[in-house]
């Protein structure tokens, strides 16, 4: 019976990459990925600006 139970997917690869994040990105459409990247870039730049551009 044990072999019928699916092993959970690993969250990280052997070289430390967050596979759950990749799977989440792959669940999005290209348009959603683009929107996420755009928002993230603007958020990070806004935080940098608030911290004196560092």
């Amino acid at each position: 019976m044990d072999e019928d139970i699916e092993a959970p997917l690993p969250d990280y690869s052997a070289d430390g990459v967050d596979l759950s994040l990749i799977r989440w990105m792959l669940s999005l459409t290209p348009a959603e990925r683009l929107e996420f990247a755009e928002d993230r870039a603007n958020d990070i730049l806004a935080i940098r600006a608030l911290n004196g551009g560092t």
């Binding site: 690869s13 070289d15 430390g16 990459v17 967050d18 596979l19 994040l21 990749i22 799977r23 989440w24 990105m25 792959l26 999005l28 459409t29 290209p30 348009a31 990925r33 683009l34 929107e35 996420f36 990247a37 755009e38 993230r40 870039a41 603007n42 990070i44 730049l45 806004a46 600006a49």
Partner: protein, 164 residues
């Protein structure tokens, strides 16, 4: 601070009839790789008519070279038709216009390794495939490329598992 509008940059290029391939970080993102990127990187066709179309779009976006922005140096046809890299900033954020990448790979060389992607509202953009992006980053081998390579490789593996 200039707000980054990747989609607006791409739309302006498409509306202007420019032949180009999206490469770099944004190509990786559109392929599903969770990487940060701050600019739009394109390899343009350097055919004369395309250079004219690209220059018209760059002018409409107020594109200037990022280095010494206070001088407001604008790209010219001789720059855009050459193999070099133009690091520009437009009203929608940074835009890198790359005549060639890696060891002189031009638009025509990359075309068979690209595909059209719908980025919303029917807007299609030609994007370099992840396999080629990985090969190029392996070849270039800069510090930034080495950092992102594991993410790109694992993304490619996960895509294959999902049949994407």
């Amino acid at each position: 601070m200039v707000e980054h509008k990747f989609s607006a940059t791409i739309r302006a290029l498409r509306d202007g009839g420019v032949d180009f391939i999206l490469v770099g970080g944004l190509a990786a993102v559109l392929s599903g790789a969770p990487v940060d990127t701050y600019d739009v990187d394109i390899v343009q066709s350097r055919e004369r008519e395309n250079v004219e179309r690209l220059l018209a779009v760059l002018n409409s976006l107020d594109a200037i070279f990022r280095i010494q922005p206070e001088r407001r140096l604008r790209p010219t046809a001789s720059y855009v038709s050459g193999p070099g890299h133009l690091n520009l900033v437009t009203r929608y954020g940074p835009l890198d216009v790359l005549g060639t990448i890696a060891d002189g790979l031009a638009y025509g060389d990359l075309l068979p390794h690209s595909r059209e992607v719908d980025i919303g509202s029917g807007l299609m953009v030609r994007v370099l495939d992840l396999e080629t992006l990985i090969k190029i980053k392996e070849h270039v081998g800069g510090d930034k490329d080495r950092l992102v390579l594991p993410i790109l490789r694992r993304t490619l593996e996960e895509k294959k598992k999902l049949g994407q």
